[in-house]
Amino acid sequence: MKTYGTEPGAPTPVQVGISELAISDGDETLKSYGLGSCLAIALYDPDSGIGGLAHAMLPDGDTAENSERKPGKYADTAIRALLRRMVEKGASYTSVEAKIAGGSDMFEFESFGDGVGQRNVVAAREELDKLGVPLVAEDVGGDRGRTVEFTPGSGTLMVKTTEADGTSGVSEL
């Protein structure tokens, strides 16, 4: 969700809503809530600490009309937009690494085919591969929702889930 005005000093995480992406160059935390089939894509340069998070909804932006207006909506265009903006901020292309989380398939509906979450995961892997960005960790698939928090400075991607039995799980990628 776009916020107007200046960021207060408080360390509240910046929320990255569906189809959005955000860049940060330090300890600022980027957060996406309740990912189901959507995919969180985190890129960061461990040397400069510059990184970004995208909350992609669909796999393929190259065939979509509005991907220029909303690059964060598609896995492929989101990765390219993150990378470009990070490099503009001073990140070094060759040292950038990627982590992804999300892409669950919560429902087994006929109309969903092989799974809508799976399609996003495949698209992200392909795009990263094409650009030569190593995918160093992932927590994808399954049938649970995830909330992620990404700190570019450390490259830590925290993934929270709530299991069917009500317990919460936290893993660190």
């Binding site: 969700m1 776009k2 916020t3 107007y4 005005g5 200046t6 960021e7 207060p8 809503g17 569906i18 189809s19 809530y33 309740g34 990912l35 189901g36 089939s37 959507c38 909804m57 669909l58 509005n66 909506k73 669950s104 398939d105 919560m106 429902f107 087994e108 509906f109 006929e110 109309s111 969903f112 809508v116 979450g117 996003n120 649970r144 929702g145 995830r146 909330t147 709530t162 069917a164 039995d165 009500g166 317990t167």
Partner: protein, 423 residues
């Protein structure tokens, strides 16, 4: 007058753009960090707009008349307290408690700048000029004070296309709502310009509303029959929103839901979402034995593991299944068609995660969606159920075009409770 998804999409962008400009200017003026909350196009009856207003808090409105490309009225509405807080940030040394002349003019100024923000945004998107009258300060508790003297205000049974945006300040309570009441003629002109396909006759939207009404009534009736909890339809509205905006409205907390895909004209997805407490109440009502939560005390608050056992899960699925049949029968009767639905899928997870697979799937082919948004509640007991019905866009347009408006009124509603297998 006809409309299509492209025209509505432009309207939506207009509302979004306008809200962004208005939020930016509010920040500039007050130094309060703001953000645009949900932006929606609503199709609402006059009666419901009035109902929306009647929460017995006093409201402050700033109203302007528009001419040019869009004719009608634009109204910015604050809760009284919020208006006073904003005034305080502008009029220094003011401990604003009342609307004296100075505070009144400060509030009017803010409201006017907000209105202009919206209107500039629309003019940008439409690439045209919209003229604005001098602002008028309005104060009162009921909708009548704000709208009833307007020629454009819809009568109780008239369906109005309403633009609603909510802007909120980060960490403080200074949100406000914005309404646009366009004059029909000018709306028709704009729609004609923006339309790129055959579109839907505006009067057929009546069918939309009837579908929403019948669907909601069936759900409430079914829930009451099955659980013995007396439920009623609290909110029922038809929204036109961008797909991404749908999960924004779902709480970031763990919910219990039942999801379906449905197939016919239209096809689409249907979700029932309950908060955990309501879900537990429902399980208790449907499966009396389940109230023994096994923790040894007499309460049934399940202070053990917070899961729903097999019996609880199947009770909720069964309720969902029968509510889905009722809802879709309601639609099918209005549309004179048949709509089949899948077996129920149970979900107990963060609310947004339950909704996003559906928008991901629909997003392959559409950017916007009509959402039939319904809230069912019960007096005295926890039973809060949010119903999201999201039809496939093309199918819906087809279904509506096939609809004969004359028969909408006569459509019977039949839901069959006989097949309930309560084991």
């Amino acid at each position: 007058m006809k409309l299509d998804v492209n025209a509505l999409g432009t309207f939506y962008r207009m509302a979004r753009e306008g809200a962004g400009l208005a939020a930016g200017r509010l920040t500039h003026m007050t130094d309060v960090e703001t953000r645009v909350g949900v932006t929606k196009l609503n199709f609402m009856r006059g009666r419901e707009i009035r109902h929306d207003f009647e929460d017995s808090t006093e409201k402050i409105g700033v109203r302007v008349e528009l001419s040019g490309a869009i004719e009608g009225y634009s109204v910015v509405v604050f809760d009284r307290e919020n208006a006073l807080r904003i005034v305080e940030t502008i009029v220094s040394e003011s401990d604003a408690e009342e609307f004296d002349e100075m505070n009144k003019s400060a509030a009017t100024e803010v409201g006017n700048i907000m209105n202009n923000g919206f209107i500039d945004g629309w003019a940008d998107v439409l690439e045209t000029v919209i003229d604005v009258s001098t602002p008028e300060f309005v104060k009162g508790e009921s909708a009548d004070v704000f709208f009833s003297d307007l020629e454009e205000a819809p009568g109780d049974d008239d369906l109005a296309l309403l633009f609603q945006s909510h802007i909120e300040a980060v960490d403080t309570e200074v949100g406000f709502s914005h309404y646009l009441f366009p004059e029909r003629e000018s709306m028709s002109r704009v729609l004609e310009q923006l339309r790129t396909s055959g579109g839907i006759e505006y009067d057929k939207l009546e069918g939309f509303d009837r579908m929403a009404e019948r669907g909601a009534e069936e759900v409430a009736k079914t829930a009451t029959t099955l659980t013995g909890i007396d439920t009623s339809v609290e909110i029922r509205r038809l929204n036109f929103v961008s797909l991404e905006a749908i999960p924004e409205e779902v709480p970031d907390e763990r919910l219990v839901g039942v999801a379906f895909e449905f197939d016919g004209v239209p096809s689409g997805y249907l979700l029932f979402l309950f908060d955990e407490e309501s879900a537990r109440e429902i399980v208790d009502a449907m499966v009396p034995m389940a109230s023994d939560d096994g923790d040894g005390d007499d309460d049934d608050d399940a202070d053990g593991p917070e899961s729903f056992d097999e019996m609880g899960t199947s009770a909720i699925k069964e309720l969902g299944n029968i509510m889905a049949s009722g809802f879709l029968d309601g639609w099918a009767n209005v549309l004179d068609t048949t709509i089949d639905h899948s077996t129920p899928e149970f979900v107990h997870d963060i609310g947004t995660a339950a909704v996003d697979p559906v928008i991901v799937q629909l997003g392959e082919n559409q950017e916007f969606a009509f959402v039939f948004d319904t809230v069912i509640t019960a007096d005295g007991k926890e039973f809060d159920c949010e119903v999201y019905a999201i039809p496939d866009e093309d199918d819906l347009e087809r279904a509506l075009n096939d609809l004969e408006v004359d028969r909408i009124e006569d459509a019977p509603t039949t839901a069959d409770f006989q097949e309930v297998d309560n084991t």
